[in-house]
């Protein structure tokens, strides 16, 4: 099962300050869509709106062509097909395995299937031997890997990554990026990656978009985007003329 994501004209303001002005883009299954831009540009807000943590002031979001349902049961069902990894994860009280299997338990997966899939997810992020460690005792990098495993073990159709390797050391970044690649290749899911790291975007993305002043300034396939950007602002951004 796959699902594409279509955002049109999204608007969001906080306390009179407009964060998202008119954001539109589309991500198809199998793609890794990177959204880059300066900090505070609204990238996190965008993802939170997609995953129903916040409500946009205007615009629409379509999942597999349909807007989100209004009745709670259907909305919950839709939500369970999405996953989000935030920048610094929150670990629940318990072991790494407990955290990873949380989403499975929510979806009433139990017994040997739960154990198997949990072990697989932990192995995918190189933490098979830390399965029973207390999650609160994990390092920042390990915790983020657990959070990633927790997000993908449920086989989401749309995976949202919000600066998910920011502040991590290179070994952890490598492991997580490899896991993203593996996930995308094996499931063909729709992946949206918000990052301010241009190099990461180059490494992981199939398409890239620049979010500036609340709008998508330009988007395109990764090669063209970096080698031959069309918009002057894009050119300035990828050349490093912006501080970000």
């Amino acid at each position: 099962m796959t699902m594409n994501l279509q955002v049109e004209g999204m608007r969001k303001a906080f306390d009179g300050r407009t964060v998202l002005e008119d954001v539109s883009f589309r991500v198809d299954p199998g793609q890794v869509f990177a959204i880059i831009g300066p900090s505070g540009a609204g990238k996190t807000t965008l993802l939170r709106c997609v995953d129903f943590l916040q409500r946009p002031d205007g615009g629409s979001v379509r999942y597999a062509g349909r807007e989100a349902p209004t009745d709670p049961a259907s909305l919950l069902a839709l939500r369970r097909r999405l996953s989000l990894v935030a920048q610094s994860p929150l670990m629940f009280r318990g072991s790494a395995a407990y955290n990873v299997s949380f989403g499975l338990c929510v979806r009433a997966v139990e017994g040997s299937e739960l154990t198997r899939r949990t072990a697989e997810a932990l192995a995918a992020v190189g933490l098979r031997d830390r399965s029973d460690s207390a999650a609160s005792k994990l390092s920042a990098g390990e915790a983020q890997r657990v959070a990633f495993a927790r997000a993908i073990v449920i086989r989401p159709e749309i995976l949202l990554l919000d600066e998910f390797t920011a502040n991590l050391d290179p070994p952890n970044v490598r492991i997580l990026e490899a896991a993203v690649r593996e996930f995308s290749a094996s499931t063909g899911a729709t992946v949206v990656l918000v990052t301010h790291n241009l190099f990461q975007a180059k490494r992981l993305a199939t398409r890239v978009a620049l979010l500036l002043d609340g709008r998508i300034v330009e988007s395109g396939p990764v090669k063209e985007f970096f080698e031959a950007p069309q918009d002057a602002r894009t050119r300035a951004f990828v050349q490093g003329d912006f501080a970000y």
């Binding site: 943590l53 919950l76 369970r80 996953s83 935030a86 629940f92 929510v106």
Partner: protein, 217 residues
């Protein structure tokens, strides 16, 4: 009118029974309610909180008086025949202890990191699963609420005196006996019972602390 060791044991047992039962009942009512209310981020919560803080300050003697009037044969629940009985005393203490456990639970749940709720929601938790997750994360704080509640119950004297009547061998507990001992100048006996009270509280608290340690991350 010194009582023998067996009598002291009986009095102690009844004290523990009444305070333990009322704390448990109050927990069963207050914790689910507290988690539910604590999770709601509604403006009307201010009204609720005002009501709750007033109930916090409900003097146990007043609670005792109200329960007395309720359970008396001349009162609305008189046909139950619960006045001057241990069950009536449990009822009175439940009235005293529930607002306390409720308030602390609500407070603990409201201050559970917002990210706990968000993470659970993002992972697809429904309301029931969210409540249980929050409860798990707030478990240490909730056990504190229970400890505070029990402390209030075991040391309470006004309500149990009024509703229980301090009937020897029937509704006689440690705290009411300390009062009557003092009235009869049996200070040594009163002190002994006071020490027993402290020991009980200490034992119960250490058990709850041990439980609480297991709930820390």
């Amino acid at each position: 009118m010194l009582t023998l060791a067996g009598d002291i044991a009986a009095i102690t047992l009844l004290s523990v029974f009444i305070s333990g039962t009322s704390t448990l009942v109050a927990t069963a009512i207050a914790v689910p309610l507290g988690v539910t209310l604590g999770l709601r981020e509604v403006g009307s919560q201010r009204l609720l909180r005002n009501i709750l803080f007033t109930l916090y300050g409900l003097p146990p003697v007043l609670a005792g008086l109200l329960v007395f009037l309720l359970l008396s044969r001349a009162g609305p629940l008189g046909s139950l025949g619960l006045l001057f009985t241990p069950l009536g005393m449990v009822f009175a203490q439940v009235v005293v202890v529930t607002p306390i456990i409720l308030g602390v639970t609500m407070s603990v749940v409201a201050t559970v990191e917002r990210r706990v709720k968000e993470t659970a929601l993002v992972l697809g938790a429904d309301r029931r699963q969210l409540s249980i997750t929050v409860l798990r994360e707030a478990a240490a704080g909730i056990l504190t609420a229970v400890m505070v509640g029990f402390g209030r119950a075991i040391s309470e004297v006004g309500a149990v005196f009024i509703v229980g009547g301090h009937i020897e061998t029937r509704t006689q507990v440690l705290t009411t006996t300390i009062i009557t001992d003092i009235q009869q100048a049996e200070f040594g006996h009163a002190t002994l019972l006071g020490v027993i009270l402290l020991v009980i509280a200490g034992v119960v608290y250490s058990l709850l602390y041990r439980l609480q340690e297991r709930t820390l991350p």
